[in-house]
Subunit: 321 residues, 2 copies
């Protein structure tokens, strides 16, 4: 992808079409390397691999949605660091028979997600592939990047957004049905919590993780990295109607369904006890994203999930399973 | 991949095994984001996608070689920018049935290539996949990163190393034969020209490109990006015996065979006229890599390739073809 002019060749015609479709969202791409603009703070980077048949099916999503979702999932890692977005790199494998328009649409979705997050498309790589493959690398900057380490006993545990909608969409598709609109939107067009992530960092968050592997799985990483235990009250999880109905169809309690769902791209943050309901309401108001206290950090190790006064054992979401 | 402790789960056991195998080549990985160490110069970044059946076959290479080669190919982009290596991110898709040992070996190869280049493994992502997929993102720093733009009429065109060996290996495998050792080594264990790339930048190189798409293809990018024409004398290309024999088998003149071969990961640099044979010999001596003048930058556009006083038309290497 290049604003540097490219030499002749079919592969480069394809790149030229993508760059033209991306317009200002890819201002200066196409050399061997992309050069990051100067800025203050540490550079943070993350990468996220999406594969057709594992993470998505082309029957479920438009190509623009496939690109958006792959980019948004990676951008969510920057949100968890409390970082500002610089830009994204996209490595895309496309089947030999695929229409060039699909590749252009996919990259249009990547570009739209990058732009919506305040960044640009910095570069990428294209290859033939037996199935669609999208690997997105995101780069950002943060004064003091948040990690999963640093939660302390006494901190409150706060959750952004409404979990379980992606899972509701997935279970519908896997039954051969169309998901409800809210569930479909959460899966196809997730909104990485960048603004709220930065606000939580400014509000003194001590540790943060995004819920790509689901609340049940990712809470375990935060607990292990911080060497603490987490008590989570599943009955405090905010529940969307589509999640309640999807859980009912499956005969699973809705909070359990929501906690086991992967790829919500919400954030779980540990905040000092001084951060209370009023501060949370102000942040939620400012960003338009719900912020809910769902538990506490305590001494010990591991995650205890409570549902109707019972401790429950839940599975994390595993892409290899 | 994490020095941050990870929560429980099969996917994370896999990551723990990789981190343990990588040892000091992955000092601090596993959070949502990797944080780059501070340093001077601009941050440069590039990404390179390798897919089983397109870029390699598991019958040709060990898994450690697959990892090394994928990382080395991406690191070569940093060499072309004249950059120092910070580190790499590895997104790896592995077949569900694959032995965990293969994944660990692959990552060992990635780690070895990163370490040999002066960097570390910063992070990555793992997924199930129908076939092996390796996407490597490389990060580096350069005071004034070189690009493909900036070559001027009158500049000399200099080539590192000996081109065509990767193609000699590929043609042997595709005939069902074993490549000659030199050819096999060039394909399985390429050495990105990082030290020589930096020396060329210090020596005043005006534009540089790596030959991942072959001399014939990548020279076209340098010409187009710099808005100049290139005259390249194919008869000046240094020829390895294995390339001469492979070309002979195929009934192709050896310089043409070498110029059309992809994935050599050598560099093509435009240097001012003052850079002469003595300066080149000193750099070659210091780095142990041949450096050969193969042509000149002239006014105009496009690449003219000369072989035995005739202008020839060659194809670039196209992964979609």
């Amino acid at each position: 992808m290049s604003r540097s002019a490219l030499g002749p060749g079919g592969e480069f015609d394809r790149i030229r079409r993508i760059v033209s479709a991306l317009g200002p969202s890819a201002p200066d791409v196409g050399d061997d390397c992309a050069v990051l603009p100067d800025g203050t703070g540490r550079v943070v980077v993350s990468t996220d691999l999406s594969i057709e048949g594992v993470h998505f099916e082309t029957a479920w999503l438009s190509f623009e949605e496939i690109g958006w979702r792959a980019a948004a999932g990676a951008l969510s890692d920057l949100a968890a660091a409390g970082a500002e977005v610089i830009g994204v790199l996209a490595s895309v494998g496309s089947p030999r028979g695929a229409a060039d328009g699909h590749l252009v649409d996919l990259m249009r979705g990547v570009g739209a997600a990058a732009t919506a997050a305040g960044g640009v498309v910095l570069g990428g790589d294209l290859s033939a592939s037996p199935q669609w493959v999208v690997d997105i690398t995101v780069l950002g900057r943060a004064g003091a990047p948040l990690t999963r380490r640093g939660a302390r006993p006494g901190d409150g545990l706060w959750l952004t957004g409404v979990p379980g909608l992606s899972r509701a969409a997935l279970t519908a598709w896997r039954r051969g049905e169309q998901p409800e609109p809210d569930a479909r939107r959460a899966f196809a067009h997730p909104a990485p919590r960048l603004a709220l992530g930065r606000r939580l960092a400014e509000a003194g968050a001590r540790a943060m993780v995004d819920l790509s592997d689901g609340l049940a799985g990712d809470a375990g990483h935060l607990a292990a990295a911080s060497a603490v235990a987490l008590d989570i009250e599943l009955d405090l999880l905010p529940l969307a109607p589509a999640v309640v109905r999807a859980a009912e169809r499956q005969g699973t309690p809705a909070p359990v369904f929501a906690a086991e769902g992967g790829e919500d791209y919400e954030l779980l943050a540990a905040l000092p006890p001084a951060f209370g309901a009023a501060a949370a309401a102000a942040l939620a108001m400012a960003t338009g994203v719900p912020l809910t206290r769902i538990g506490a950090v305590v001494e010990g190790s591991g995650v205890r999930l409570w549902h109707e006064r019972c401790q429950v054992r839940l599975a994390g979401y595993d892409h290899f399973a």
